[in-house]
């Protein structure tokens, strides 16, 4: 029996189509499995093995910005995942160092990496180092020294270093006027929570990144709470001095005209005074009093903040 | 003034590097082509015909010797002003249409616009391609390419037309067309210099021919003289009413004998043996049907020349 040639050619064609589809789908599934083999953490870690910037610079043949952009695009994907541990950001400094070797003018990369390394990852030396590199290459951008100033103030408990950088930022074109004032307050009233609140407010005002705003807002609440607690404690001391006893409740101090009112807790809790005269908040059981400076209260447990 | 004068032309390749022994493509070639004649340049493939043409057109430089085209030294830009050229198995810009193609060469010849469109129409008519005017050359058959190439060579109405194997690859009708075209050019007083390795093409139209083998000019003159002189290569005798078996004498000396029914075919090697064969056939009462002397084609001559170490001294003497 002979098959008509038209049917034969149809069979040939359709078997070709089947073959193509088969090959494509096996490639697709292979890729899925390969993806599973390499979790995103591993892919992010791969950025740590980028060749040094000076070599990559040679290899990119005048297309340095594009190579820098590509590295940044990869880095941004992983940065966006907000890994909670310090170790999760091991690769970040190297990747950003390489890409800013390729394109030293990539201000956005310095800014984001500097912020994330400091605020989320607690890798403060790296944060400051990458921002300082940015400053060297872009001395006209005030945001870079501003971010270093922030890092020194909040993450490293070093208001004088912070003030130094804020002063650098203050004289650069486009810098907000309050920076110089802020800088001088850093030096004079290093432990003043009011200064810290202002700093945070300013920072918050010029930040558009939602995730970062969230962290900063949170942080501001801590500072406000701490400020309130200090105000109340000072009041308790005043009350004790006058009445020779600890107030049984905070409202007693309002009645005694030592304070006008009891401030609201930013976390929605209630303030109360314990028998030893220490003021606490119901929203927060473990008030950290390890440090003199309010700005340093989270230093011992950086992850504590980042996870909030 | 002769249209082409070549004196002592020598071309060797590969001499640029000391460790390579040069290949001699042309050796001491001299000839001249008179104005208004058709000159056929004959030779087997690789004999140096194309090399000679290329030197004349300035596509190549001679190692030594001189060549003049229309009175100007070959290679000089102005020597090519009144020359048309069709290369062997022409390759052209195949993305152009026939019209654009001819127009391009018209512009290169610095014809003005109106002149170009008139000449393009005329020439497409002449080579029978009017219908393919707006077709791209990549869709042309080989014969059409040859013809449009010829039109290209004629676009600026040149004095001297140089054609490299103009008839190769053409069908019999195409050959006749090209032949008529070349003859028509002579009637209008043009000079045609063309190369070929096919004797029949040359025979019918050339005034004179030159034969080149291994880069040497072996003969230069009227074609009938040259070929006749070589004598017949073989003679076929067909006779009737006689059997091969009855012709022992001639069978022994013939190159080939063949019996086909009542007829028999005897092939002998030279004209001198014809009489001998005929007398034996007659003696046996046979009738002679035909005697056909086969002149060797020029290729046969070339092959013989090529295999022989030295050129035929007789022919050599005729060159002078």
């Amino acid at each position: 029996m002979t098959v008509p040639s038209s049917i034969r050619s149809m069979i040939q064609q359709s078997s070709g189509v089947v073959l193509i589809l088969g090959a494509l789908s096996s490639a697709f599934f292979a890729e899925r499995f390969l993806d599973l083999e390499r979790p995103s953490q591993a892919r992010a870690e791969a950025l740590a093995y980028l060749p040094k910037g000076e070599y990559l610079r040679l290899a990119s043949l005048g297309y340095r910005q594009i190579v820098a952009d590509i590295i940044w695009l990869q880095a941004v994907q992983h940065l966006g995942l907000r890994r909670d541990t310090n170790q999760g950001y091991r690769w970040t400094y190297h990747a950003v160092d390489v890409l800013t070797d390729l394109d030293p003018k990539f201000v956005a990369a310095y800014q984001s990496a500097g912020t994330i390394l400091g605020v989320w990852a607690g890798r403060n030396e790296e944060s400051v180092a990458i921002l300082e590199k940015g400053m060297r290459n872009n001395p006209e951008v005030w945001q870079l020294p501003f971010l270093i100033g922030y890092n020194y103030f909040y993450e490293q408990c070093n208001p004088s270093a912070s003030a130094h950088y804020l002063q650098i930022a203050a004289v650069l074109p486009g810098a907000p006027e309050y920076l110089s004032k802020l800088a001088s307050r850093m030096t004079v009233e290093a432990g003043d929570p009011q200064a810290a609140v202002e700093f945070l407010e300013r920072f918050l005002r010029q930040t558009r990144d939602e995730r970062l705003r969230e962290v900063l807002t949170d942080r501001m609440k801590y500072v406000l709470q701490e400020r309130n607690l200090r105000v109340l404690e000072r009041a308790v001391q005043g009350y004790s001095a006058t009445y020779h006893k600890v107030p049984s409740k905070l409202e007693d101090m309002v009645t005694a005209r030592i304070i006008d009112e009891i401030p609201l807790d930013p976390f929605g809790g209630e303030y109360f005074v314990d028998t030893k005269g220490e003021v606490q908040s119901t929203s927060r059981r473990d008030r950290l009093r390890l440090h003199q400076h309010v700005s340093c209260q989270w230093r011992s447990k950086p992850s504590d903040v980042a996870i909030q | 003034m002769d249209a082409i004068t070549i004196e002592g032309l020598t071309k060797s390749y590969g001499a640029d590097w000391p460790w390579r022994s040069p290949i001699i493509a042309l050796s001491d070639l001299s000839l001249s082509v008179k104005q208004g004649e058709i000159y056929g340049f004959l030779g087997p493939n690789g004999a140096g015909k194309t090399t000679t043409l290329k030197i004349l057109l300035g596509l190549m430089r001679a190692t030594s010797g001189s060549a003049y085209v229309l009175g100007k030294p070959a290679g000089d830009v102005r020597s090519r002003e009144k020359v048309g050229f069709l290369p062997e198995s022409p390759y052209f810009y195949d993305y152009l249409t026939a019209e654009e193609f001819l127009g391009f060469y018209g512009q290169l010849a610095q014809l003005d616009r109106s002149n170009i469109s008139r000449r393009v129409t005329e020439l497409l008519e002449l080579v029978g391609l009017s219908g393919a005017r707006t077709r791209q050359l990549r869709k042309f058959s080989k014969g059409m390419l040859q013809r449009v190439g010829l039109a290209q060579a004629l676009i600026h109405d040149p004095e001297l037309i140089i054609l490299d194997e103009p008839m190769s690859g053409l069908d019999p009708i195409g050959r006749k067309q090209v032949r008529d075209l070349i003859l028509g050019l002579r009637e209008r007083g043009k000079t045609v210099f063309f190369s070929s390795h096919i004797i029949s093409d040359v025979e019918v139209m050339c005034d004179r021919v030159g034969i080149v083998v291994h880069g040497r000019l072996l003969a230069n003159g009227r074609i009938d003289e040259l070929v006749t002189h070589q004598g017949a290569q073989s003679v076929e005798i067909v006779c009737r009413d006689v059997a091969i078996a009855d012709l022992p004498l001639i069978s022994a000396r013939a190159t080939r004998v063949l019996q086909q029914g009542r007829q028999c075919l005897i092939v002998v090697a030279s004209e001198g043996m014809i009489e001998e064969a005929l007398s034996e056939v007659r003696k046996q009462g046979g009738k002679v049907v035909s005697i056909t002397p086969h002149r060797g084609s020029l290729e046969d001559i070339f092959l013989r020349q090529a295999s022989g170490a030295e050129p035929n001294p007789h022919i050599q003497s005729r060159v002078a």
Partner: protein, 254 residues
């Protein structure tokens, strides 16, 4: 002069019919597609990347055309024997070379202009501020293309397409490396090596001189003096290559 124009226009026509300008579609799709894909980024990064991408794509597409069309410019004519009937005309070889070069130059010019318009249109679409520096960068990119074309033309007069491609690519790569290489070598202890690199530095065109894409993308202009000098630098190399190409071609047998 007229013959140069005739050959140039025919070369341009060849490029058109070879559908070389189709690359523009590829360019436009690439640029528009990536711009859309990158729209998730912050505004600042998005603008920057569109500009980086546009300039790099204009550069890359132009250089690819310059190399891969340039290497066939003369060599293809000889291999395909189309050169016979042209050189059998009263045309000097220099005329032929100049005509071929100008033809590809014209193709590149039109290509770059169209790419630039697409680029500017996309910038306009995303509201990216268009700065004068972008034009500066593209102008120097065009000089780079003219230079690469001249080199490709030079190699195509004496070597096959494949070899010409390798040579031209090598010059392109060395041209971008040589500045950094010289910098690295300046501290070298080996005098011979240092001299060799210095020699190479002055022999090869330093293509980084023509690369201001990075600063152009962030809007930092170069002085007009630099622009003029860099253009003159690139064009001088191009002229030298073309003259050398003419000299080589003059001596060639077909």
């Amino acid at each position: 002069m007229q013959a140069i124009a005739v050959i140039a226009l025919n070369t341009f026509r060849e490029n058109l019919r070879d559908k070389i300008l189709y690359n523009l579609v590829f360019f436009a799709v690439l640029l528009i597609g990536l711009s859309v894909l990158l729209a998730d980024l912050t505004i600042m990064e998005h603008h920057r990347m569109i500009k980086d991408l546009g300039l790099a794509a204009i550069n890359l597409v132009g250089v690819i055309i310059a190399i891969f069309v340039g290497i066939g410019l003369v060599n293809k004519e000889i291999e395909r024997r189309t050169v016979y009937t042209i050189m059998a005309r009263p045309i000097s070889r220099t005329t032929f070379i100049l005509g071929k070069y100008c033809g590809l130059g014209l193709t590149l010019l039109i290509n770059v202009l169209v790419m630039l318009s697409v680029f500017l249109a996309i910038l306009g679409l995303y509201g990216v501020p268009i700065t004068w520096t972008l034009f500066q960068a593209v102008q120097l990119v065009f000089v780079e293309m003219l230079l690469i074309t001249a080199l490709a033309l030079l190699f195509s007069t004496f070597s096959s397409s494949t070899l010409s491609a390798i040579f031209t690519l090598a010059f392109y790569v060395i041209g971008h490396l040589i500045g950094d290489l010289k910098g690295l070598m300046e501290n070298s202890q080996t005098v011979v090596l240092r001299r060799a690199v210095a020699g190479l530095y002055y022999l090869c065109p330093n293509l980084e001189m023509l690369n201001i894409k990075g600063q152009a993308a962030i809007g930092v202009a170069v002085p007009v003096t630099y622009q003029t000098l860099a253009s003159a630098y690139g064009l001088s190399y191009a002229v030298a290559s073309i003259v050398l190409a003419c000299m080589v071609f003059q001596r060639r047998d077909f």
